[in-house]
Symmetry: C2
Subunit: 160 residues, 2 copies
């Protein structure tokens, strides 16, 4: 169901290749200011709004069992809906970051570097799900480093 | 505690102004491919990973009561941690979108246009929290349009 609103396609042709986090940050700030909604955009209001949108996103997948990549069997309408919920999460995330004074783009680039240090290619490669799982579970115990199964712990986690 | 890893600052100087969703999408794809982790990056695995990161993000705010914008009283270490969790949510969101075949930047621009139609400036402005609240609660009943308190329902919601 492509009830595309006027301008939604033509107005953004080409432009979407290079959508920056900064441009979304600015658009969300304008959106709120124009409506006098800055008063509602406090950190925890935005966090809960984000959580709500994550719930809506989860709802789309909830009873499906695992789904193949690219969602080959999904109706166009369902894919549109998915795009909207993914976007709502993104927009609230961008706005929350802004309101907290965090430069999200900069933070993401830095996190990518931390991830690469935490999960070195040579240790992860090979598709061992054991390794993947132990690395993964280690992730959730940031505060206790020096776990035996993780050869990288304690040396490369940066700010963790 | 700015234990910045080598290159995390110098390597991204200037660049972060224009961080695009497309560049993050590519970096996450490279990250997974280099580690043979594509096998783990199925839609629902990624969605659950995202939900997990949203939990970690929520944890940061959980017992604080409302916090002022810009987080003036937060320790630098806590702000760093916040930046990392915001980034984890973003990175899994970008990866989930990619794996689902959704162009997140394009979808976000379109959603911003839908939001502007759903919440017209002239109807929202004035800071009436009643209006804000009724618009807001209306949002969570997408499937039942024509709600009386929402003059825009049924006319401008596009694909909703
Ligand atoms: C374990 C794992 C991590 N990451 C990346 C994305 C997140 O930014 C970060 C999360 O790592 P951790 O679970 O250690 O917090 O690492 C990823 O892409 N795929 C994975 N299978
Ligand atoms: C009600 C409301 C909406 N939005 C924007 C961000 C989301 O992308 C979308 C969510 O709208 P809804 O709650 O109607 O789904 O609208 C926003 O920024 N601030 C608000 N106070």
């Amino acid at each position: 169901m492509s009830t595309t609103i006027e301008g939604a396609v033509s107005g953004t042709a080409g432009e979407e290749e290079g959508v920056t986090l900064e441009s979304l940050r600015r658009k969300m700030a304008d959106f709120a200011r124009e409506r006098d909604w800055d008063q509602f955009h406090s950190p925890r209001n935005l966090l809960l709004a984000l959580v709500g949108e994550v719930g809506e996103l989860s709802e789309i997948f909830q009873w499906k069992g695992e789904v193949p990549r690219g969602l080959p069997d999904w109706e166009e309408e369902e894919k549109q809906h998915l795009g909207e919920e993914l976007s709502d999460v993104l927009l609230y995330l961008v706005r929350l970051s802004d309101i907290c004074g965090v430069d999200l783009g900069k933070a993401a680039l830095k996190k990518l570097e931390l991830n690469a240090l935490k999960y070195p290619v040579q240790l992860c490669k090979g598709g061992s799900s054991r390794k993947h799982t132990s690395y993964s579970s280690n992730a959730h115990s940031r505060r206790s480093s020096n776990e035996e199964e993780d050869p990288s712990s304690g040396t490369s986690e940066g700010t963790a």
